[in-house]
């Protein structure tokens, strides 16, 4: 038998694809900014923060790391309204992605923090820096530099994971593919194209972050 593929039909719906890409990248950007902030704060708590906070943070990290993203998303979007907490699909998606990257990022950054040589902290102490200054200026930047490749990989994983957000009608890329396939009946082609776009986005986001890290995040 012959299989006829028609990619052109899919491309006729290109504005939907563009919207999808923008949503996917936007959600990823929010996850990076907020999620990494959460991760740094939690990593601080787990390494030198107060004990009473360390335990709930550890519980949060393990809970997120040991349950599927899709279940977390469903719980936030379908489950929480039972408690009167209602989010729109994009907000629920954003929260789920942030919590997810926050948890994985905590473990990654924590490993970097733990690798700080003791002498670095002693030198900073003897220069009369405060605890907060030591963490933000002396300990954190080299730690981020050390674990940046792992963080970038995790960010890419989270971005690809955001495809699931289409399941609650967030209009990201996989959702666009869904709609186009319904409109054109070119299901396979729509998914092939969306997948190819994801691949390009993954490569782009990876090189962008590898480039940006040393320039904006932790210095040379």
């Amino acid at each position: 038998m012959t299989v006829e593929l028609n990619f052109l039909a899919v491309f006729q719906d290109w504005p939907m694809l563009v919207t999808g890409v923008i949503w996917t990248l936007g959600l990823t950007a929010i996850a990076i900014v907020v999620g990494l902030t959460v991760a740094v704060a939690c990593a601080w708590v787990r390494t030198e923060g107060p004990k009473w906070l360390a335990i709930p943070v550890a519980a949060y990290v393990e809970l997120m790391r040991n349950t599927p993203f899709i279940v977390q998303l469903f719980f936030i979007f379908f489950g929480l309204p039972a408690l009167g907490v209602r989010f729109s699909p994009p907000v629920a998606s954003g929260i789920a992605l942030v919590l997810n990257l926050g948890a994985y990022g905590t473990e990654i950054i924590r490993a970097g923090l733990l690798a700080t040589p003791k002498g670095q902290i002693e030198a900073a102490l003897s220069l009369a820096l405060s605890k907060f200054q030591i963490f933000t200026r002396v300990v954190l930047p080299p730690a981020l530099k050390k674990v940046w490749p792992a963080l970038v990989s995790q960010i890419v994983i989270v971005m690809l994971g955001s495809a699931v957000c289409g399941q609650i009608a967030t209009e990201e890329l996989s959702y666009a593919a869904n709609v186009i396939s319904a409109n054109t009946f070119r299901t396979f082609e729509a998914y092939i194209i969306a997948t190819a776009i994801y691949l390009v986005l993954a490569l782009m986001v990876r090189s962008l972050l590898n480039w940006a890290g040393p320039r904006f995040i932790f210095g040379r």
Binding site: E122, L129, Q133, P142
Partner: protein, 254 residues
């Protein structure tokens, strides 16, 4: 006669009295009394494990001690009070065996960090301080270099400049040449000697006996957690009174 004159005319800057410290059940400092006059250069010598580095690290609060008192410039060391600790550390600089430069900052930024954060100097003023100090340690062309681009000797000189940027009243040197290749020792010692000649109060733990003899006003020999013998370098090195010091000095000659 000169001793009396010294203790009255020159104010004490570091005052250590009955200081005891233990790690668990092992006591490493067993009651140290030491007064350091302003401008005095003191070398602390002794075998490894005699407690000399620990003593030095107690002076700026990197180690906690259990008994006794320690004050710098009239201010007692209070571990529980973060503000007081920072205040004390502003007047006590420290240079480490392993340099401990911040690897992610340029040489210039390493020096500027504490003046801008702690002393709230603006960037231009801090930059000026850093440039001057780099000149002083002979590294004026390394402002924008990263630490890992420098030799050990250069890194240690940057570390000295970094400590000086806080205008400390006392400078603690913890075996500052021990991690260096032999040919790089001289350049660091020359900088330290220059500081001694300019009247900086220096407390150094060192294995460089010739250097200790040359620059020190007083040498302190530590043995098993106590100040065992102390005196002017010529006296102490030529006529050691205790057998422990005699043995220590002769062990160095082998």
């Amino acid at each position: 006669m000169p001793l009396a004159a010294e203790s009255h005319a020159v104010p004490t800057i570091v005052d250590i009295a009955g200081l005891r410290k233990s790690y668990g059940s092992t006591e490493v400092l067993k009651g140290i009394d030491l007064r350091v006059a302003r401008g005095e250069v003191i070398s602390i010598i002794g075998r490894s494990g005699s407690g000399k580095s620990t003593l030095l690290r107690c002076i700026n609060g990197l180690e906690m001690f259990q008994e006794g008192g320690l004050s710098v410039d009239g201010k007692s060391l209070l571990y529980d009070n973060a503000t007081a600790m920072r205040e004390l550390r502003q007047s006590v600089g420290m240079i480490f065996q392993s340099f401990n430069l911040f690897p992610h900052l340029t040489v210039g930024r390493n020096i500027m960090l504490a003046p801008t954060l702690v002393k709230k100097r603006d960037k231009a003023a801090a930059e000026e301080i850093a440039t001057k100090l780099l000149e002083r340690v002979g590294l004026e062309d390394k402002f924008d270099a990263m630490p890992d681009q420098l030799s050990g000797g250069q890194q240690q000189r940057v570390a000295i400049a970094r400590a000086l940027a806080m205008e400390p009243k006392v400078l603690l040197c913890d075996e500052v040449t021990s991690a260096l290749d032999p040919e790089l020792v001289g350049e660091v010692l020359r900088v330290v000697e220059g500081l001694a000649n300019e009247g900086m109060t220096l407390l150094m733990v060192t294995h460089e006996m010739n250097f200790a003899r040359k620059v020190s006003d007083r040498v302190v020999f530590m043995h098993q957690g106590l100040v065992h013998e102390t005196g002017h370098p010529s006296e102490l090195f030529e006529n050691p009174k205790t057998t422990e010091l005699q043995q220590f000095l002769s062990s160095l000659k082998d």
